[in-house]
């Protein structure tokens, strides 16, 4: 299977993208900002179609759109998780604009629109050219390195913002940086697994890691590891079963891992709490 060029490209790009999604995703889940990630991922759709309607490279639209919105969301409220209504209203309007650009683009291009729309929404990781794949790998690795570089202060700022800012940690700037990195990640992942589906690769591995271990650094690495494993397994599955779209397979594996983590930890927690209750209620003598 690795004899084919497109498979190697898909694995290369997929691994880097999964790494970035897993690392950024951990902080996004920790800070309960998945909704912001959702908004950013949908905005990638508008960015790509606006670029297509204007006749420039879709990647420019992707990155400009998502990073711009990330900064807007970060600027609108210092705790952007509080204002989910603002996020919702802003991004639904931007989606509406995306529809408008789709109509504009299809009027101009005469019918070739279905392909671009579908590729933006659902990704086409097996369709990446080797050059695209290398670029995706470099950007993914860059985002991952940036997250690791700010991991320590960001963790402090996420868990206890009050104490962190008293100690001189730039809480606000770190939050903005995370959102910008999330924007870059979504723009990158849109090309591979699509604007509608990439949320799964951000949320599911991170959610699973957070359930499996209380140690934040371990969880951070576990989240990245689970994202990469989901991508590899998903790509292999979809290579073996041609009817299965690669994006669906990757997200299905990631969701299955999350479900497994959910079941395992819920059971363990119940058992522990039962033991505790028994220890308290049964008199020891």
């Amino acid at each position: 299977m690795f004899a084919q060029e497109f498979v190697r490209t898909a694995f290369l790009a997929g691994t880097a993208i999964a790494l970035a999604c897993g690392l950024v995703g951990y902080f996004v889940v920790l800070r309960a900002q998945v909704f912001a990630g959702d908004a950013l991922s949908h905005v990638a759709f508008t960015g790509a179609l606006a670029a297509a309607a204007a006749g420039v490279d879709t990647r420019i639209g992707l990155f400009a759109g998502t990073i711009l919105l990330a900064l807007i969301l970060g600027g609108l409220g210092d705790s952007s998780r509080a204002d989910d209504v603002t996020i919702g209203i802003v991004f639904v309007w931007i989606l509406g604009l995306g529809v408008f650009f789709l109509a504009l683009f299809s009027a101009g291009a005469g019918g070739g629109n279905g392909l671009l729309g579908a590729r933006t929404l659902f990704g086409s990781i097996f369709g990446l050219s080797p050059a695209d794949g290398r670029l995706a790998a470099i950007i993914g690795a860059g985002v991952a390195a940036a997250v690791l570089a700010i991991a320590r202060p960001l963790l402090f700022a996420s868990v206890d913002p009050g104490t962190a800012s008293a100690r001189g940690v730039p809480v606000r700037a770190l939050g903005l940086m995370l959102l910008a990195l999330l924007g870059a990640t979504t723009a990158e992942a849109t090309q591979a697994i699509g604007a509608l589906l990439l949320l799964g690769l951000v949320a599911a591995p991170a959610g699973a890691a957070q359930r499996l271990t209380p140690n934040p650094y371990l969880a951070l690495l576990l989240s990245a590891g689970l994202a990469v494993v989901s991508t590899w397994v998903g790509l292999t599955l979809s290579y073996l079963i041609p009817q299965l779209p690669p994006s669906s397979a990757i997200i299905a594996v990631a969701s299955a891992i999350y479900l497994l983590a959910f079941l395992v930890t819920t059971d363990a927690r119940l058992r522990v709490s039962r033991l505790l209750v028994r220890g308290v209620t049964e008199p020891r003598n």
């Binding site: 909704f35 959702d38 209504v85 279905g114 949320a203 779209p245």
Partner: protein, 300 residues
């Protein structure tokens, strides 16, 4: 479509043009039903800060529709099944974690959303039909609304409003102050689950008109705007319904006269109304802010 429907200053002739064709009458009626139902549900959704769950439920209409297409059922059945089922999953798993665990809840919702959409893509690729039809699923198609759909919508809306007539008061209590509501015997958990289920059904109905991706415009913008204008419950509910009706009809009318997608018009009208009200609110509340050039009010 008439040869060239054109907007004029004469409102009567505009209205006659708008209602000249049965499909447009159907669309306007369906739009009105959806506007009333979605805005009441959305009002509670905004109050309970469950926008993310609402958005996720609306996206679940996509796998519902494609799945129904695949096995040859009417699309509406798929919409309601998928939206209802995922409402139960989100409600059950969000409630099972420790209370106040918002990060867990948002991870569950995100995972459910992505998984549902992945299923939708799988169904679509298994169906191997014309791929271009997915756009209508996602972004709405108000031209194809049948009489039967309007009747179904009416029934769902009646059920939804009946739910709020019965459970609205305790739900409001539980949404505003959950611990006190629990202490005085309101079954808050059951109500939360029931609300998510109603939200799922309402969203499934709405998605058939506005498209899966744009349900949110009707669901979140009118209540958010109304809650900016007034804090009184009765007024803001009434205002929500009114705003929603106006937004939907203006959006449909614009889409009829100018040939761009209806979703674009509805979202744009909704967004402009919200921005205008928010800026006005900021100016009224903090007139001094203008001197510093800031127009957003400092709520967060």
């Amino acid at each position: 479509m008439p040869a060239s429907p054109s907007l004029s200053l004469d409102l009567v002739s505009d209205f006659q043009q708008l209602t000249a064709y049965p499909f447009m009458v159907n669309a306007l009626e369906a739009g009105a039903i959806v506007a009333v139902m979605a805005s009441v549900v959305g009002w509670f959704m905004v109050l309970r800060r469950e926008s993310f769950a609402g958005h996720t439920l609306s996206l679940m209409a996509f796998p519902g529709a494609t799945g129904a297409l695949l096995i040859g059922l009417p699309a509406a059945a798929g919409y309601f099944t998928f939206c209802g089922a995922s409402a139960l999953v989100i409600g059950a798993s969000a409630g099972s974690g420790a209370r106040g665990h918002r990060s867990e809840e948002s991870a569950v919702t995100g995972a459910v959303q992505a998984f549902g959409l992945a299923c939708g893509l799988l169904f679509l690729s298994l169906y191997q039909g014309v791929l271009s039809s997915y756009e209508n699923l996602l972004f709405g198609d108000f031209l194809g609304i049948s009489r039967g759909q309007v009747v179904t919508l009416g029934i769902v809306a009646a059920l939804t409003l009946a739910f709020f007539a019965v459970a609205g008061r305790p739900l409001l209590f539980a949404s505003v102050d959950e611990p006190v509501a629990r202490a005085s015997g309101v079954p808050a958990r059951t109500l939360a689950l029931a609300f998510l289920l109603v939200l799922g059904l309402a969203v499934a109905a709405t998605a058939q008109i506005t498209g899966v991706l744009l349900v949110f415009a009707v669901l979140v913008a009118p209540p958010a705007t109304a809650q900016l204008i007034t804090a009184r419950i009765g007024w803001s509910l009434a205002l929500t319904v009114l705003l929603s009706l106006v937004i939907t009809w203006v959006g449909l009318g614009l889409a009829y006269f100018y040939n761009y997608p209806v979703g674009f018009y509805i979202t744009t009208v909704a967004f402009s109304v919200y921005v205008i009200v928010r800026v006005a609110r900021g100016v009224i509340d903090h007139p001094t802010l203008l001197r510093f050039g800031a127009t957003m009010d400092g709520r967060s």
